[in-house]
Every structure is written in C-alpha cells, then in structure tokens.
C-alpha cells in the first residue's frame, strides 16, 4: 500500500477535474473503465481451481480453491446451517495482519456472499459425504485502500475454474454406508459452476466524487474521493451486501441516494461485461489479458 502524497494544489486540481459534469480522470479513462489487467486461470496445478490477476500498477492477487471430502454429521437437523460450513475462506493481504479488522471484515463479507451464490448442493456427494471448499486468497501487493475488486475478480475466476472429481460410487448411502470412490481421470471431473444458474458474486468498489462515480479508482483518485461504495453483483443483479467505505482519510461528506443509484446503475451496466470477459478467460486457457 503506497502512501499517496499530493500537494494541496494537485489535490484541488484532481478533485475539480473529477467533479466536472463530464469528468476527466488523470489517466483519461472513462468512469466505467478498468485499468488494464492481466488474468490467468488454473495456474496452480495442485488446486482444483485457481486464478491470478495482475494490475498494471503491480497490484497482484492469487486465489486458489481446494476441495476435500468431509463426512457430514448426520444427526444435525439444521442441514442448511451445516452446508454453510462447507466453505472456508482464508485471506492474506500483504502488509496487513491476518487478524486485522480489514482482513477479517473482507473475509467474512466475502464468505457471506459466496455461501449464497455457490451451488452448495453440488458439493454434496452423498447422504454422508460432501466436498468442503477451502478458498485461499493472497493479495501480494496492492495500491488501493480497499483491494476488494482485485480479490473478488481473482476469487470469481478461481471458483469458475474449479473442477471437482467425479464420484463413481453410489449416491444413496443413507442406510448402507459406502466409501466414496472417484474417477481417476482428472479430465472427467465436473466444473463446480458447470450448468448452474448461479455464478460467484463480484464485488466492485467505486469512488464517489461529487455526483460522479468511478469504477476501479486509482490511488490518486481514491485519495481525493469523498466516499467509497462497495457493491455486490451477481447473476445480473446488484445484491447485498452494499456498503459505504472510506477510501481516503479526508473527512467524508456523507452520501446521498442519487449517488447510490448512480453507482447501482454503473455496476449493473458494467457487471455483465466483466463477467463475460472473465468467463472467456476461464473457458479458454490461452487468453491471458483482458480490458
């Protein structure tokens, strides 16, 4: 995390230009435009799914999904509650302690939205056994105050590329226990999101300057922003959680409904495009760069 030090004149200039009716970003991007980034999928051979995203400014994030067969406690009546435990998120942001407020908040909000959007029934193998997903995310370096967008993109791709070994033994072991057996062919394993209508959620952080909303704010933009909003996008909709965050140490000026609506519209507009390009990388391993 770099400390951006701008002189008052620079700050003022930047703030003014971002507040215009037709704002001008320092790198001449449109407000809905991402900075260039490079993404790779399935690069960790030992994981069930993995992704790596690198931003032009050197920010980098790795995500890995590993699946392990666990036995379910059968006497637990609350099976929905139980299935939630099938997902574990571990987050490591370089330079921030694992148990810091920021880390744990991000991890828990990520897990919260993932539980709702991962087809949990697909993890279920038999009456007695299920896959448990261990999602490990490492942010190697980042420039943003809140590297949520970066790690959510990586997590999205890792999950999308996740494949689970194919069960070859019977599914019904309610009365007669069987030990699960799997096909030895990795190629025959099933994609977690294969034919699911669900899709992993994406979290976008936007910077708010006056009435303007900026996607993927650069550190400079963040430092002059009045507010930040984190929006969750999944399956063509904006869903909870939606929360305001502070991107700069500057006194925040509060947020109004117009700004939220604008942010909502922006993410709704770009969401499908982001999903489409990420999916393209997932489905074709040879593509590496987008945007």
């Amino acid at each position: 995390m770099f400390k951006i030090t701008l002189s008052p004149a620079e700050r003022s200039y930047l703030h003014e230009s971002l507040s215009c009716l037709s704002p001008i970003r320092p790198d001449a991007r449109l407000n809905k435009q991402f900075r260039p980034l490079e993404a790779t999928c399935s690069f960790l051979p030992g994981s069930n799914g993995s992704a790596r995203i690198r931003m032009a400014d050197g920010a980098e994030c790795l995500a890995s999904v590993k699946a392990k067969v666990v036995s379910l406690q059968l006497n637990n009546a609350n099976s929905a509650q139980h299935l939630k435990n099938l997902i574990e998120v571990d987050l490591d942001i370089n330079g921030i302690r694992d148990d810091s407020n920021l880390s744990s908040t991000i991890a828990s909000s990520l897990k919260g939205s993932l539980v709702k959007h991962i087809p949990l029934e697909k993890l279920r193998l038999t009456h007695r056994y299920a896959f448990k997903l261990f999602i490990d995310i490492v942010v190697l370096s980042h420039s943003s105050v809140y590297p949520l967008t970066l790690l959510s993109l990586a997590t999205y791709m890792a999950l999308k590329s996740t494949k689970l070994p194919l069960l070859t033994s019977t599914v019904n072991d309610r009365d007669i226990e069987e030990q699960p057996m799997f096909s030895d062919d990795w190629e025959s394993s099933l994609a977690l999101f294969g034919d699911s209508s669900l899709s992993p959620p994406l979290l976008f952080v936007v910077a708010v300057v006056k009435d303007n909303i900026f996607i993927d704010p650069s550190p400079e933009e963040e430092s002059v922003s009045e507010n930040g909003i984190c929006l969750t996008y999944a399956n063509g909709k904006i869903i909870s959680p939606l929360q305001t965050i502070s991107l700069s140490p500057k006194d925040n000026t509060g947020i109004n409904s117009a700004q939220i609506l604008k942010a909502h519209a922006l993410v709704k507009e770009i969401g499908p495009l982001v999903v489409k390009s990420l999916d393209e990388i997932v489905s074709d391993d040879s593509i590496k760069t987008i945007f």
């Binding site: 019977t170 009365d175 069987e178 030990q179 699960p180 057996m181 062919d185």
Partner: protein
C-alpha cells in the same frame, strides 16, 4: 488441454500427468512431472542406432525365432497375455525375444503381485530373452492421455504405440514385431492402425507344437458360457471398505471345513468370541479356503447350526436358502451384531450367528495339484474337453479346465492354476500347467506333496554353494588355536566326555551332552550344539536361502535340507571321534537339578560316541559297564528325571498325537510295516536337557535384546476350543476337562481314565491336542512378558536353540547369544525389527507347512502299507455326523470316514445330536447304535479314490 511438453536439454523433456487419487474416501488431485528421453534403447542386437551404458547390453536375439509360417519376429505382450499365460511365458517351449512395455509391467503389478514378481524374475534370467521397454519414458512412444479416455484405453494406446515404434525402428533389419493381445477391441484398433497384432491363440496356432501349447492356455473368455448357476454379485469396493470401517461388515480369512466344502468359519476374535459360521453354496459365494473375505451377518431367522453332514464334491446338491433381497440398514446391522455377540455368549441353542460372503479382498490361489475326475470327461476324441480337476487340498472345490489331452491326463497327477471364478459358474475356472507323473508313483506323489505344501525342494543354487568353506569335506578345526582372534575366544572342551544320543541312522547331529560330578557334590552338565553360525554368516546367499527355507522337511523316505549337506551332515554335525566347533551351555546343577550357575561359550568339542536311543539305554542299563562316560550318562538320566518331574509339577502338558513310523524295506524301499513310536527314557533324557538349554538361552538373549530376541510362545487355548470335546466327555463318560490353566488341564487329563480301556486316556489326549493353539515364533518386542508363556511346556520363556542344522530360528538364537556373550556383534540386519518380523512370519508358515508335509507323507505311506496288508483293526469313533462317523485306528495312526450308506440302510439313520449317537439298521437289518468314543472293529483296506487319486484307508464297520 493436453499437457504441454517442455524441452529441458538435449534428449530430455518434461510434461505433466494429472490424475485423481481416491484413497480412504478422499479425492486428491495429483500432478506429476513426467520426464521423456530420446535415448531409450530398444535392446535388439540387430540395431546399431541405440546406445548402451556400460552396465547394459542388448538382449533380443540376432537371429530371432521364426517358423515356416512366421518370419523372424520379436513379440510385444499385452497385460492380458502376461496374466493369463505366465506359465507358458516361464516355460521353455514358446515365447522368445519378448518385449514387455513398462505400461504392461505396471498393469500386471496392480492386478497381481505374484505374477509381477515372476515376470521380474524372467527379465533377470537370460533364457527367454525378455526385456522391459520403458515406453512411457521414451519420447518416441509416449502419448498423452486424451480427454475422456479411460485408463484401459489409454494403456492400450500406449502399448500399440510401442508396436508401431518397434516396427518402424527395426524396419531395416528384416525383423517383424508382433503385438500379442487377447483384447478384441485392442486387436481391432491394431488392425485399423496397421499395427502387426495377433491373439495368443492365433500366434501359438502357427507354431509347430501348437497342440500342446494351446492346451496350457486359460479357457478362452469368448466361449459362450451357459449360466449353470447364479451367485450373488460381490459388493462394490467402496461399500466393502466403508462397511468394514464402520464394523457393519467383517473382514477375515476364510477357514473352510475339511469335511464340508460349503461350510467355513471366520475368526474375528476382537469382535465375536466365537468364529462366525458361513454355510451353504450361496453364502460361501465363491470364497475358497484361505481367501481374505468380507462377510455380512445374515438376519437371525437364517442362522444355522454347524453342519453335521459330510459334504464333499461327490455329495453335492445342497439346499440353499432362498435369495432374499432384504435391505438391511447399517443401523439395523449394528443391532444384529449385538444380537450375534449375545447369542454366542449365552448359547441357548445350537444355532450360530451365520454370515454370507459379500466380497473377496485377496485370493489365496497358488498352483494346486490334483487329478482329472474321469466322470467329467465327455468325449473320447481329442477335441477340446471341459473337465473337472479334483484338488488334493480337501477344502478346495474342484476346478474346471479345458484341455484337448483329457485322456492323456487321466490317472496323472497334474498341476493346475485357478484363473477366475465367474458368478455364473459352479466351479472356479483354471488351466492345466504341467504333469507331475502317474498317480501313485512314489516320486510323483512326493513332488506333489512338496508342491502342495510350498516346500522348496530344488537343489541349492551355485550362489549358495559358493558360501561353503573351500576345503569341503577336508575342513578341520585349526590346530593352532591362537592363530586367530575369534578362535582365541573359543573354549577348548575336548577333554570333556561328550556323547550324542539321536534316533538310529541320524546323520545331522545337532546336539551332544556331557555330565561330570563336581568335587562339591554338584553336577556339571553341558549341552553342546553344532556351531552352524560359524559357517552361515549373516547377509550371505547361504543365510538367505536358510531363512527362506526356515526348516528341514522330513518325509518318510526323504529329507529336504535347510542347509547344504556338506554343513548339515559333516562340518556342523557333531560326529564322534573328530573335533567340531560347537556352542555350549554349561550348568552347575545340584542334586535336585536346581540351576546353581549357567555359562554360555563357543567351544571346541570331540564327541566320544554317537549313540542311538536304544544303544544309550542299553549301555545305561548294563550295570557291568562303569566307565566314566557311562557314569556321566547315568547322572544325566537321573537329573533329567528330576527335571521332568519339576516340569510336570509346574503344569507341563503330556499331550499325544498318534505318531507312527513307517519301516521301509531296505532293498526295494517299499514301505513294509507301520510301528507306533516307542519312547525310551533316553528320549526324554535328551529332550529335558534341550528344553533346559532352550529356556536358559531364551532368558539370556531376552536380557541382552529385549526388543528383538527370537523366542517361541504357545498361547493358552481359548476355553471355547474345548467345548465340543467337553460336552462329548460329559455326556458319554461323565468326565470333564478343565482348562483354567495348564496345571488344571494336565490334571484333568490324567483323570480321564476308562478302567476297561487303556487306550482311552491317550485318545482323549489326542483329541485335546487338536484343541490346542499352535506354538509360534515371535520377536520379543511384539508381546508383553506375560504373553511369552509357553503353555504346553509350562515355561515362562522359551526359544529354539538346539537344532540349528534343521531350524532357522536356532540360527538366529545362536547369533543373538553370540552377541550377548560378546563373541561377535549382531549384524545390522538382525537388529532391524521390521526385517525380523518378516523372517518370523515366514518361519511360522514354513514350519507349519513342513509339519503338514511330514504328516501327509506318513499318511501316504500308511495307505501303501494298508494296501499290502488288509486287516481288521480296533478303532475309536471320534466324531459322529448325521450321515457317517469318523474312526481313528491307533495301530496305524490313521483316521477315516465311514459313510452311513456304507454301513447300512441310509434311510433308517437317526442322528441324536445331544447324545452324539447315530442309530441305523445295518446291512443285515439289525439295529445298531454308535456313540462317540465307542470302540469298534473295522476292516481296513486301502482304496484309490477315483476323485482325488489319493490312496486312503477305507474302513468297513464290522
């Protein structure tokens, strides 16, 4: 995405293999780097392109095998060929210049480890010119697995690639390379891809001696099978593993009853107090004796009592209980398990928890000897015949083989291998391996017997013989005892008056003794054991051979030695009048044979005389003979009697087995007469001091090596073993045997006396012996001290030390004792507990087999004697069935079954289970009642069993 291949340097590149390993219910993605080289040699002597390192040379011949119909060719074998025709591959008639792709080797290893080791052995031998080609590491023959391709298809493709490569690689040298496979799909693909391929039948059909060769092939799979029977399918692997893990199913080795091939038991001592019963053809579900099986308890309504019938291959037609597809949940099964345990503990009825086999984990199929059942041969021509082979092992079912030579094989003792037991066949399917010779031929039967008991009887290899002293029979104890450091440590005991006492004609003299009265009134007693370890050094070929044979095997007219004869009968043998190295135990004993002091030493002795038991007895009894040697022997005898009394007081058992000896006509070596072994005082003289030496040595080596001491234990028998015998005794004679401890058992056996019948006590002892556990070797670290106990000898610790020429345990004990007294350190191999565990396991198995082989040999000869002398003999009924009785004839030490149909009217038979009584109308119409323990007169004659080709004593009740 196909894995990319990356070039590392000249001739080496790397790719990756990705697969899922599912083990213990988990599913792990495994990624392996896979290296490819372009310099994997083809091993053909014709090829001048491939390069070899210094250690390797080409193997495949310059002048490959060819016939009129086939040009010069090499062969590539597919996995199915290796698995089905390993015997042919090992034989010297066909299949030369063989290329085994690495893929095949791996597949063979996964399918059958024994065949894998045989294949590996072949690749080391030169005769067959067999090589392993590492096709998966060769850049030219490696192909990546395709998406959605099953592992079998992939392996087939790898193997076809080898065929393609070899043919193009050797195209300039005028040699063809045929891929042999019996996989139809693979053959078809070969044709499509223009790869030379043949099925094994097609190939052998083009050889000159094809008739013979085709006969040794396993039955062709493609024959239309008529479903003569339908067995329940085995559960899936996943169900078996999970079931065994959660104690819903049980896993254990199957013990098939030798009276009824459809009755087996499975011992699960940790779960059930008594063995679980498996009865009936359906419930046995293709399990054969010794297989490791998984069973499932039957519902209580289907529990049965152990069979009182005699069922063998001749009396088939078992009423099987109806197949009912009840689904029982795991929960209910657990309740059932509890129920079963309770039933066994309380035992209110004869019904026993019964089970059915639901899976076979590991087959115990080896090569079996047997003979064709004549009544199953359908035609007289030389057409392909499907016939049954009755195996010598009584608890194995008959095996179906297909052969063209059925008529030639009739009345021959043959070796067969079992291949498979399909669910639709009543009998396991196998194939003919080789002929041993005509039935009843002495040499044939002997070889069959050795094969049947897995006794290694081939001559010692050159490697082993090279380990013997170069001087051969000329070897002598060095004259100058100070010439060598080790020699200096030996004690010179040549002044002691040592003698040996053995059975007459003994040439491998293990032990010798001496005794001397000391000035203080005590006795100095020495036991001197042949110093085998002086010649058998650890980690030599000789030592390994000894360890693998573990024991000498004594047949009636033949001895299969554990060590080469030079050692056994000369250099080690404590022959009289010459100096020999020995390992001595010398005690100071007081008048009452209490040990005052004990000392162990390597020594040199000179035996004064080698006595037979009888000679020694005569010399002791001859009061006119008063020389020092005889005096010593008398002291030994007196002390041994005191030792024996002490042992008996401590509760040592005096058990009995119907031991007989067969006298051979010295000229024709035909068996002449049978004699019951007589025991002289001198027998027990030697025995007592050997026991004493063994116990003293056991203490010493346990002291020195608490973890790895080689010991021998004899577990107390579980009281359940005696239940049946006790019930018989109680009901028939009003006697009981108590089994709380060996003392009680010994005393109660003494009380089992029938005033009218002297032999009765011995009979009970014989039957009690059969209820005992077998003694076993063990490594001290595996048990706690309390468990070391030798029940039969009433000793708290015991080992075998006194017969190193014929037992390997004694060799180990010698080495440990030598280390314990600081003579020479223990070899690292013998300090490794896991290695010792393996040796011990082998020793126990070989020992058992040797005993069985010895007994079988006696049984065979007794049969021959009876053949010559039919007579009436007295016998005792020892078991009563619903349709027959078992009679033991003490004079010949044989027992045999008399079926009800041979005694009288079968329909009049009435079996009283409670009273152990069988009543029936005999042939004349008189009513007869037979009880267990009844003394009966039987007419003994020997009959050649048409089914098994075994001559057996057959009794006719008089």
């Amino acid at each position: 995405m196909p894995p990319s291949t990356k070039r590392l340097n000249n001739g080496l590149s790397v790719t990756t293999k990705v697969f899922v390993r599912s083990r213990n219910g988990g599913a792990t993605k495994i990624v392996r780097e896979h290296y490819l080289r372009d310099d994997v040699a083809c091993y053909s002597k014709l090829c001048d392109q491939c390069e070899y390192s210094l250690e390797t040379t080409p193997v495949l011949s310059h002048v490959p095998f060819s016939t009129a119909k086939l040009t010069k060719h090499y062969l590539i074998l597919d996995t199915n060929i290796v698995l089905n025709a390993i015997d042919l591959l090992e034989g010297s008639q066909a299949l030369f210049d063989v290329i085994i792709p690495q893929t095949v080797l791996e597949e063979v290893r996964n399918r059958s480890y024994p065949i894998y080791t045989r294949l590996r052995g072949l690749s080391k031998a030169d005769a067959k010119r067999l090589i392993v080609f590492h096709n998966e590491f060769c850049k030219n023959t490696f192909v990546a697995r395709q998406k959605g391709e099953t592992i079998n298809d992939y392996n087939d493709r790898l193997i076809r690639k080898v065929g393609e490569y070899y043919n193009s690689h050797l195209s300039n040298y005028g040699v063809k390379v045929f891929l042999l496979t019996d996989d139809k799909d693979n053959l078809k693909k070969c044709k499509d891809e223009h790869i030379l391929a043949l099925s094994l039948r097609e190939y052998l059909g083009q050889l000159p001696n094809s008739e013979d060769l085709l006969d040794t092939l396993p039955s062709a799979q493609d024959d239309l099978q008529v479903a003569e029977f339908k067995y329940a399918e085995y559960y899936s692997q996943s169900r078996l593993i999970a079931g065994v893990k959660s104690s819903v199913l049980f896993q254990g080795p199957m013990n098939v009853s030798s009276y009824d091939i459809f009755e087996g038991t499975i011992n699960l001592p940790s779960i059930f107090p008594k063995p679980i019963l498996v009865r009936g053809r359906q419930n046995m579900n293709r399990a054969t004796n010794g297989d490791l099986v998984v069973v499932e308890l039957l519902p209580k309504s289907q529990w049965v009592a152990p069979s009182n019938d005699i069922v063998d291959e001749t009396t088939l037609g078992n009423a099987d209980n109806e197949d009912n597809d009840l689904i029982i949940s795991d929960q209910e099964r657990r309740l059932l398990n509890k129920e079963a345990r309770r039933a066994q503990m309380e035992d209110e009825s004869k019904l026993q928890p019964s089970a059915k086999v639901v899976g076979v984990i590991r087959r115990r199929w080896r090569l079996f000897t047997g003979q064709l059942s004549p009544n199953t041969i359908t035609t007289n021509t030389n057409a392909l015949n499907s016939c049954l082979v009755t195996l010598s092992e009584k608890s194995m079912p008959a095996v179906r083989i297909k052969t063209r030579k059925a008529n030639d094989l009739l009345n021959m003792r043959i070796v067969v291998a079992i291949d498979d037991w399909p669910g639709t066949s009543k009998h396991p399917e196998g194939h003919f391996v080789r002929t041993l010779g005509p039935i009843e031929d002495k040499d044939t039967e002997q070889e069959a017997l050795l094969l049947e008991h897995d006794v290694e009887y081939r001559p010692f290899s050159k490697n082993v013989l090279d380990c013997l002293p170069k001087e051969g029979h000329e070897w002598i104890v060095p004259v100058d005892l100070s010439s060598d450091e080790q020699l200096k440590k030996r004690r010179d005991l040549r002044d002691k008056l040592v003698c040996s006492i053995d059975p007459p004609g003994c040439v491998d003299i293990d032990d010798a003794l001496h005794a001397r009265k000391l000035p203080n009134g005590n006795f100095e007693v020495g036991v001197h054991i042949a110093d085998v370890t002086h010649f058998v050094k650890p980690a030599t070929a000789l030592d390994q051979e000894g360890a693998s044979r573990s024991t000498s095997v004594y047949l009636v007219d033949k001895r299969i030695d554990m060590l080469p004869t030079l050692l056994g009968t000369d250099l080690c043998s404590l022959k009289p009048y010459v100096d020999r190295f020995s390992f001595s135990v010398i005690w100071e004993l007081d008048e009452d044979a209490n040990i005052i002091n004990v000392d162990f030493m390597k020594s040199i002795i000179k035996s004064r005389e080698a006595f037979s038991y009888q000679d020694a007895q005569d010399r002791i009894d001859d009061s006119s003979n008063n020389d020092e040697l005889t005096q010593g022997m008398r002291s030994l005898l007196a002390l041994s009697k005191k030792l024996k009394k002490k042992r008996m007081d401590a509760g040592a058992l005096n058990l009995s087995s119907p031991e007989v000896k067969v006298h051979m006509d010295s000229e024709t070596s035909d068996p002449g007469e049978v004699e019951i072994k007589k025991l002289l005082d001198t027998n027990s003289l030697v025995e007592e001091f050997m026991l004493l030496a063994n116990i003293s040595v056991a203490r010493k080596i346990y002291d020195a090596f608490p973890q790895i001491a080689m010991l021998r234990r004899h577990a107390p028998p579980p009281s359940t073993n005696f239940e049946a015998l006790n019930e018989m005794l109680h009901i028939r004679k009003g006697m009981t045997i108590s089994v709380e401890n060996s003392r009680a058992l010994s005393d109660s056996l003494d009380r089992c006396v029938d005033k009218n019948d002297e032999y009765f006590n011995t009979l009970v002892r014989i039957m009690a012996t059969r209820c005992m556990m077998a003694a076993e070797y063990f490594v001290s670290g595996n048990f706690s001290y309390q468990e070391f106990k030798h029940y039969g000898l009433a000793a708290d610790i015991y080992t075998h030390f006194t017969s190193p020429i014929r037992r390997y345990c004694d060799v180990l004990a010698h080495r440990q004792l030598a280390a314990a007294i600081g003579y020479e350190p223990l070899h690292p191999i013998q300090r490794d507990k896991t290695k010792m565990d393996l040796i011990v396991k082998n020793m126990n198995r070989r020992h058992r087999n040797a005993q069985f082989a010895g007994r079988a040999s006696i049984e065979y000869y007794v049969g021959q004697v009876i053949k010559n002398t039919e007579s009436s003999q007295e016998g005792y009924i020892i078991k009563v069935f619903t349709n027959g009785i078992v009679v033991l004839v003490p004079n010949f030490g044989v027992e045999s079954l008399i079926k009800l149909e041979d005694m009288g009217d079968e329909s009049s038979g009435l079996f009283d289970e409670k009273e152990f009584k069988l009543s029936f109308n005999d042939k004349i119409g008189n009513k007869r009642e037979l009880h267990v323990f009844d003394k009966v007169t039987v007419y003994m004659k020997s009959v050649l069993n048409e089914m098994t080709g075994k001559r057996k004593a057959v009794f006719l009740l008089k």
